[in-house]
């Protein structure tokens, strides 16, 4: 798997910082100095083996060269470019293939671009929500109709009174009375409308951030961990600080579920089992006599774990997204159909496991374990609901690897049989 253009530049920086000569590092890594020179100038791609040796020669962690915050930034920028590709002028198209360059040289500007993209989407959502409200709100439409009706009557009546020179007294009295009635109605209507527009539902309520993102931001701020003691004490105070009602309701549902998980599998018992069995959700579930879904949620919520977790409902919509390092998750829209998650969704109660690698995400591998269950909350004649979860664990093992993506628009896999739409990235072959 080729590494990104960023890698060569970083290697060079690290070598210079360590005060080492190209020839010495090349000798230690068992490659020629001229080859290292080409690598450092991003003119040659590096195989994982050579990368490993170079990292050892420089005494650095290989992952430090390509992963971390910057990888997330690269992914977010690609997603932003994909979203805005349709609107961009041809001459203003983002140089997606040089995104690592940008992140490497101007991390602050890159972060600002991502923040602007997020803000832009939030505003789009707010406009959509307000537009929906203007168009479809029956109360608003009723109020406006009432206002326009009384206003029409006032205007027509007042004009008759003003413009009819020989208006008979009977008619004049009648129109004066009508005018009075309609002006009362007009005032009441205007008051109702102002009251409606002023009522608590501000722009915040209209979804500046998608509720799910709000909850995920909150959990990210907690490093995705809620301890059993915190569950027992309650988290209402934190939840109150979420901006939208919808987010607060999602957060409460999340906490309620975590509480049920903790009751079924208390932290101490779980940690004890984990120490003996290792982070294998199916083995743990079998040993503890619990649903693998509970065990997966517990695993992903342990302090200090790097495990990622995604869950989806029967429609495939992601309902929970905790990313793992080197395994970026789509912020919105549909994910990669090759994920084991979807394999499990189609076959409830059968485990699906694969060693996976994200296209274009260096050569970091993950073990993805997925499991799905069905529920019938309204009894067996009611609708069948499905829930699937996929735990994403770091993996160093050897063996066949499935190349997957985050979502099609920002996926580099070249020969994908499941591709829904073209990618904005240059295709790469699959190893």
């Amino acid at each position: 798997m080729p590494l990104s253009a960023l890698t060569g530049t970083k290697l060079r920086d690290r070598r210079l910082a360590a005060g080492l000569r190209q020839a010495d590092v090349a000798a230690r890594a068992g490659i020629s100095a001229s080859y290292l020179n080409l690598i450092e100038h991003n003119r040659r791609k590096v195989t994982p083996e050579v990368m490993e040796r170079l990292a050892d020669a420089l005494q650095i962690d290989r992952a430090a060269l390509v992963e971390g915050r910057e990888a997330a930034l690269v992914e977010d920028l690609r997603a932003a470019a994909a979203r805005n590709a349709a609107q961009a002028q041809p001459q203003a198209a983002a140089e997606v293939e040089r995104v690592e360059d940008l992140v490497d040289r101007f991390p602050g500007w890159a972060a600002l671009l991502v923040a602007l993209d997020v803000r832009g989407r939030a505003l789009e959502r707010a406009v959509e929500a307000l537009n929906d409200r203007m168009t479809h709100d029956p109360h608003l439409s009723q109020s406006l109709h009432e206002l326009l009706s009384s206003l029409s009557a006032v205007r027509a009546t007042a004009a008759i009174l003003a413009e009819t020179p020989d208006l008979e007294p009977d008619w004049a009295a009648r129109f004066h009375r009508n005018l009075h009635q309609d002006s009362e109605r007009l005032a009441a209507g205007a008051e109702a409308l102002v009251g409606f527009l002023d009522a608590g539902q501000g722009i915040k309520e209209q979804g500046i951030a998608a509720p799910q993102e709000e909850v995920e931001d909150w959990l990210r701020g907690r490093s995705w961990v809620i301890r059993d003691v915190e569950l027992a004490a309650g988290l209402e105070e934190e939840i109150e600080h979420l901006a939208s009602t919808a987010a607060r309701s999602l957060a409460r549902a999340h906490v309620a579920r975590a509480r049920a998980d903790a009751a079924a599998l208390p932290e101490a018992a779980f940690l004890a089992a984990l120490a003996e069995t290792g982070p294998d959700p199916l083995a743990l579930a079998g040993r503890l006599g619990l649903s693998p879904l509970v065990v997966m949620r517990r695993l992903a919520g342990m302090p200090g774990t790097s495990a990622g977790l995604v869950t989806c409902d029967g429609s495939g919509t992601l309902t929970f997204r905790k990313p793992a390092t080197g395994f970026p998750l789509p912020r919105f829209g549909a994910a990669c159909p090759l994920w084991p998650l979807y394999g499990a969704l189609g076959r409830p109660l059968q485990p699906v496991e694969a060693r996976v690698q994200m296209a274009g995400q260096s050569d970091r591998r993950h073990r993805a374990v997925a499991w799905a269950e069905t529920r019938h909350p309204l009894g067996p004649r009611g609708p069948e609901l499905r829930e699937a979860a996929m735990l994403i664990l770091p993996d160093d093992g050897a063996g066949p690897v499935l190349t997957i993506g985050s979502s099609c628009r920002i996926c580099a896999r070249g020969d994908c049989p499941a591709r829904r739409e073209p990618s904005i990235l240059a295709a790469e072959g699959v190893g």
Binding site: A153, A156, T157, I160, T164
Partner: protein, 125 residues
């Protein structure tokens, strides 16, 4: 004989004002406050022009218009619709309305429009 206008409008004070204006302009005006009654009147005493409010209780203005257009007797009857919103206008146009007046209209506008639709010469104000 005076030309006959059927006014279908549920707001009594608007109806009264329009009726007054058109009567003074030499027209005969009959009035219905809702759609079903209006369709009965239409058959009993066929008008030369219909003024139809868009928002009516029960049968909506559009439904009344569709019924008017479905009857061969009234297929070509000129219909003026009183609408409040721009989007309603497209639907009314598709349903076969000839002219539109947007609320709140001015009295001079409505008289001029009625005269035009009845083929009367425009009078000096």
């Amino acid at each position: 004989m005076a030309q006959h206008v059927l006014l279908i409008e549920d707001e009594p004070n608007i109806a009264e004002a329009i009726r007054f204006l058109l009567t003074r302009d030499g027209l005969r005006v009959s009035h219905a406050a809702e759609g079903a009654a209006a369709l009965v009147l239409l058959r009993q005493d066929p008008p030369d022009l219909v003024i139809l409010d868009h928002m009516l209780p029960g049968m909506s203005g559009l439904e009344v218009l569709t019924a008017v257009r479905a009857d061969p007797e009234s297929r070509n009857l000129p219909v003026m619709m009183l609408t409040a919103r721009g989007r309603d206008r497209e639907m009314a146009e598709a349903a076969g309305a000839d002219r539109f007046m947007t609320k709140p209209f001015s009295n001079a506008e409505i008289i001029a429009e009625v005269r035009t639709m009845l083929g009367q010469p425009r009078q000096a104000p």
